[in-house]
């Protein structure tokens, strides 16, 4: 067997550096993989197995085995080791296990070996295969992030369906991923430095061999210099490609988490960049599951006994916002109504008062919200909120935001609303509330679904009065339909009709959608509200934990004098065969820790106001610096990303200029400026061809493209290889550079130059101009 041939002749020190960085990248993967199997194997043991696998890969490379042989050998050795290990330990253990004591005082070596070995095997196999690959093909070091990316994606992808929470907080995720990116970046940079040198050594070795054998001398120093530069350019382009790729992956992750979370949050809530919030539109999904993550703690002080009863009976609904717009293709979505009325959605930084519409049969309800895993800028409030007061959070708080809301909440008993009527536009001249035609049409748009309207008429056939009709609809759903997390897939894709007429089972969104549309078809202005319900049995010290699976959707119908009144048509009867329970159990450790913190530091809370504004100037408003950072990033992340991208591109373009500026002599300055010029030319599409000498390159630019570069290149070569390079020569160089720039501007349109600046990794086609420059322009060196 012979050693594998490579285009690269890596020095041992360089090879070790690259290999160690490669192992660090693998270590990142292994560390996170280990989270899945934490109960089965300790990280040191797994780390040892991985290091052994990497060492085996190194040995295989030294032995010069072919790739596929190396992989088959690994598989065979792994299977053999496992069976031999289990067999030998089994024999030893069984010899001592019949007696009391025996081997068992050591636990079970057989099981310990099997679980550690088998659990580590996937990570070891990956480490081995990748190590074999990079050792055989060192060029793959430059593509290392691309090799690991699918594995990283696969690992994080599985977070959706699995129940392993890798990171307790998004900051940890950000820090860990940043560390990984840094390692990979270091690897790519190191590869960029080392590989061209190794390629050069290989070329020199080839050339030397060629000279020794009387062949042509291929390794001209200038060619080597350009080769090196273009190698780096290629790697730089790769790095710049990584950024959009990373963004794409992040986007996919976000979508993935979003999907998983939407189905886990009762089909209603989705993750924002850092926390959770409700979606602006709600899908009717064929299946959802329930995540039990704690979202917030809630506490209230009611003004009347009737309000207290609302909480105790489980009817308290904390509204996030309303979905007033309807489109048959899109379902219900958040939109301002024609009166421009949109419920307050954002908490804001300062206390504020909201208008009290003065509806009847409402009383004051003071609520406190302690957000744990929910978008800190979002406002939850019982309808109608009239005072919103964010609290000044204490430092190191576990709560992302704390605030208080005063609402005018309905506590009207049903009998008091019997005569309630909805406003209609034709009644404008008649006594009662006037609404515009447009407003009424907006809130009674049901998409013209006649089958649904017919059902609504059937259900309310023998009742009289608007409120009675609304109640009849609500009762119909409560009596006739089932609650289900698996409403099933509609064969024709119409989930709503499938629910109404076929399966008759669904989760809260189905009920709210259906009732709102049926109410609209009867001329009752209705909309869907989303938020959380409060489970009265979960009270701990008067605080009510609210979990993600308590996300809920219900219906609001507008009545004259009383405003928007809530109806909750979601059935509590489980669909046959679905015996899951909506239990009230909680992670008491988490609740205890939060309550301990809250109860002991409650006196540090204060209403945000002037002081808060002062703090805000120092980036410490409610929720502390991190919360402020979250809020800023959440609002402005596209801008931040764009700025980051522009920064990198600008740095790329400015680096040679900086180098020229700080150079000690004129040679250095010329070198930096010439490199900057090469980048400008490359951005416009004029790149040097492989093996092209600078002068050949300059001549091609002049004759074929009309870019005056021969003089510039001659002066550059003089600066590099001439005996001296005084100031006047430098001034001549500046003049030649100016001519080259002018001619480049002439042949390259502005948009192309901008594109070249913004995306230097794009290989744009160079512009060509009829006619050619004369040879006389240049002059010989």
């Amino acid at each position: 067997m012979s050693r594998p041939r490579s285009l690269y002749a890596l020095r041992p020190r360089d090879e070790l550096l690259l290999f160690v960085l490669h192992l660090l990248g693998i270590g990142f993967l292994a560390f996170h993989y280990r989270r899945y199997v934490a109960e089965l194997v300790s990280f040191p043991v797994m780390g040892m197995i991985i290091v052994l696998a990497a060492a085996a890969a190194y040995g295989v490379r030294r032995a010069g085995l072919r790739g596929w042989v190396a992989l088959v050998a690994f598989g065979a050795v792994a299977v053999l080791l496992r069976y031999v290990g289990v067999g030998v330990l089994g024999v030893l253990q069984s010899a001592g296990s019949g007696e009391a004591g025996g081997f068992s005082h050591l636990g079970s070596p057989t099981i310990a070996f099997d679980r550690a070995f088998t659990a580590s095997l996937p990570a070891a196999a990956v480490a081995y295969a990748l190590s074999v690959a990079v050792l055989r093909r060192p060029r793959l070091y430059a593509w290392h992030p691309a090799l690991l990316a699918p594995l990283v994606v696969a690992m994080f992808w599985s977070q959706g369906p699995f129940n392993v929470t890798m990171f307790s907080h998004p900051t940890l995720l950000a820090v860990t991923v940043s560390a990984f990116l840094l390692v990979e970046l270091a690897l790519v940079i190191a590869a960029g430095l080392v590989l061209p040198r190794a390629a050069t050594s290989a070329q020199s070795a080839t050339a030397a061999a060629s000279v020794a054998s009387g062949g042509p001398n291929a390794a001209h120093p200038v060619t080597v210099s350009l080769t090196r530069r273009f190698h780096r350019g290629e790697l730089g382009a790769l790095m710049l490609l990584l950024l959009p790729l990373l963004l794409l992956v992040l986007f996919l992750f976000l979508e993935r988490y979003s999907e998983a979370s939407t189905s886990q949050g009762g089909g209603l809530i989705r993750p924002t960049l850092f926390r959770f919030d409700f979606a602006d539109y709600v899908n009717l999904e064929s299946e959802i599951s329930l995540s039990r993550d704690l979202v917030l703690l809630y506490r209230e002080e009611a003004e009347t006994e009737r309000q207290e009863r609302v909480l105790r009976s489980g009817d308290r609904l904390l509204r996030r916002f309303v979905l007033a717009g309807y489109d048959p293709g899109r379902g219900f979505y958040a939109e301002e109504d024609p009166h421009g009325e949109r419920e307050p959605r954002s908490l804001g930084e300062e206390p504020r008062s909201l208008s009290d519409p003065g509806h009847a049969l409402r009383s004051n309800l003071r609520q406190e919200y302690y957000l744990v895993n929910f978008d800190p800028s979002s406002l939850l409030a019982v309808n109608y909120p009239v005072e919103v007061a964010p609290y000044e959070n204490y430092s190191d708080s576990s709560f992302s935001r704390i605030y208080e809301v005063e609402s005018r909440a309905s506590d009207a008993p049903r009998e008091a609303l019997t005569d309630a009527r909805v406003p209609r536009p034709q009644a404008r001249e008649a006594p009662g509330e006037a609404v515009s035609e447009q407003w009424y049409r907006f809130y009674t748009d049901y998409g013209g679904n006649e089958r649904l309207a017919e059902l609504a008429r059937e259900v309310t056939g023998d009742v009289d009065g608007d409120y009675a009709e609304a109640r009849a609809l609500e009762q119909y759903f409560l009596d006739e339909y089932y609650y289900s997390l698996r409403p099933g897939v509609a064969p024709d894709g119409n989930q709503l009709e499938h629910f109404l007429f076929e399966s008759r089972k669904g989760y809260c969104s189905y009920f709210a959608f259906s009732m709102a549309l049926m109410a609209r078809s009867l001329g009752l202005p209705a909309r869907v509200a989303v938020g959380f319900f409060v489970e009265p049995r979960m009270s701990v010290m008067d605080y009510y934990p609210v979990r993600a699976d308590m996300a809920h959707a219900w219906v609001e119908i507008y009545f004259e004098d009383y405003g928007w009144i809530e109806f909750d048509p979601t059935s509590t009867t489980l669909a046959p065969g679905e015996d899951f329970e909506t239990d009230v159990g909680m992670d008491m450790d988490e609740i205890s820790a939060l309550l301990e913190e809250l109860l002991s530091r409650r006196n540090e809370l204060g209403r945000a106001g002037r002081e808060d504004r002062d703090n805000a100037e120092h980036g410490e408003e409610g929720g502390g610096g991190m919360a402020a950072l979250y809020r800023f990033l959440r609002r402005s992340w596209p801008l931040v990303l764009l700025a980051f991208y522009l920064l990198i591109v600008t740095a790329y373009r400015l680096r040679p200029w900086l180098r020229a500026t700080v150079a000690r002599d004129y040679r250095g300055r010329v070198q930096g400026r010439f490199r900057a010029m090469l980048r400008a030319l490359a951005a416009a599409g004029f790149r040097a061809g492989p093996g092209e000498t600078p002068r050949e390159y300059a001549l091609r630019l002049s004759y074929r493209h009309g870019v005056s570069a021969v003089g510039l290149v001659d002066l550059y070569l003089k600066a590099m290889f001439g005996e001296s390079f005084p100031e006047e020569e430098y001034r001549r160089y500046l003049g030649a550079e100016s001519r080259t720039r002018r001619s480049l501007r002439e042949v390259t349109p502005l948009w192309r130059r901008i594109l070249g600046f913004l995306a230097p990794y794009l290989r744009v086609k160079p512009a060509s101009r009829a006619g050619a420059e004369t040879v006389a322009e240049g002059g010989a060196t």
Partner: protein, 621 residues
Amino acid sequence: MNPPVTAQASETTGTTTTGVERPGRETLRSVPGILVLLVLVLSALSAAIVSGQTRADEAEGDADWYAARALEAIEAENYSRAVSLLKEGQEHYPETLRLYSMLGDLYFDEDLYRLALSEYREAERIDPTDFAVLHGAALSLGRLNENEEAVRYLERVLELYPDSPEVTADLGWMYFKTHQLRKGEELLLDAIERYGNERSLTMTLGTIYADMYRYEESREYYERSIESALEDGQDYFAAVAYYNLSLLQKAFYRFNGAMESTDRSLEHARRGTGHLAKGELYEMQMEFRRAHEQYMKAYNLDEETPLAKLDLAALYRTFGRLDEALAYARSVYESEDLHWMFNFGIDERRHRMELHDLLGAIYRGKARVSARTPAGSPTEWLANTVARVQYAVRAWYHEMSFRRIAVDVGQSYQQAGSELDAHWTYFRAHERYRRVAYAHLERARELEIDVIPETEPLYRMHAGELTRDPEAISRAVEAMHPRWERSSIARGLREAALAFREQGRHREADAAAVELYGINPGGLRQHGVDLPVMISTSAVDEAGERRLRRRLADAGFRPVGNGGGTPYTLEIEAYENGRIGYRLLREGRPVRADGLDVGLDGDGGAAAVARGVAAAVFRVE
């Protein structure tokens, strides 16, 4: 499989921790005596303040003032106010024990045991001998499943206050929970001698004897506790004692007695665990509907523990309804609240062990069912394969976790001197490593048949499984009780079918599979056992029939020719309207029959029909 006595969840009434004359052991609202006492003490303090010695505002800042205001807040259920007051009081009077113990009690009442413990520990710093504080800390530790630490606290309390029957009973129970059976026996025998037939002591002693496999003593003490409870009209206590007695009787193969005790238990109080015990007895007889009914009753009654959910998950798993089994098992798995264990003879490790075992079996079953789900297209095949791999990986994870914890549990039994339980648990942990498992099984058999000779066939069956000897399994199955050990018989038939098949003895394998189907139609596919059937079709062309046979073979059926030794015939008919009808006949008598809304067109149609037929034929309702 019939686990030893200790695998059952013996229960205490919790009376060892209730009804005591100390504040804050149980909820203040539910212990009026404690409340009255506190109100009296603190009213006196308040009265002293109001009586004119000093004005209220002058008294503000006094430790008693804080305690009195906090009590008022508690009475008004304004707990956060009470906490603020007590915390404020602690800041001003850091050496006033009462402010800490009151807060500890308040947290304890609200099930915030970690917080309660931290307050009790602060109080203990001030006075390390205070009875209420030390006992409160011990009970908090017990609720937090920190049993060894709880024992240390209780031993300290008993050392300081040796004349406390309540603490004695608590310590006896914690000795049982930590498998220190000899210590528990000595302590309780001594206490019974001192305090007489105190029922909480006799019941705990009965439980300890059950754990020591001393049936007669255990029964005697259970009966003494029942007698005492009935004399005092304590129906709830009697119900719990009857429940524990039924567990004992079941473990010692006194099945009729166990059923009777369960009925008695339910007569005295409708409790969730009573229904669970009854359901388990039905499950042993493979009576799905009756067991399910009992478990659902338990589920509706029991809001505290996940035991009903666990039993439901296990029942669904046994009968092949794996989706439902998974939903219940995962719901328990994801629950972090374990304080319910305090009153049950189970600890966190054993609970986790059983959960992993159950989840591993469910996922393994799902992987096998996925492998027996015919695909009609490459997409379906891919989806099936991905699902199968996913389920297999999860099954492996839970099986390995089960083994890891089982080894720990086995060691803890061994350290406590419970040799039989240790070997039995080691056997379960090593079932995949046959040589090791066999050694532990043999040792467990030697120990158990001395105390429960009826377990002999069960051991022989497991030995046959490990040696892959189908004859040995069959002989063991024949020796089992046809009614009460039907669950074990079903397992034996399954293992015999698989072992016969491995040896290429298909006729015997088919016979075992047929018998198994008669007991539990849901027990075949999830374990990789195929049902032999003769297939007859009508109005289906030859190519269609070939496709259908192939797909049915992929779906868990084993098509055999006439005289193939199976009493089952599967008739499939294509109707003119495109629907498919099927009938499963046993010796000519219909067992299952229905129609399917799928056509038999192409490979996809055949696969869909096979899937539909298999889903119906192997489902248990």
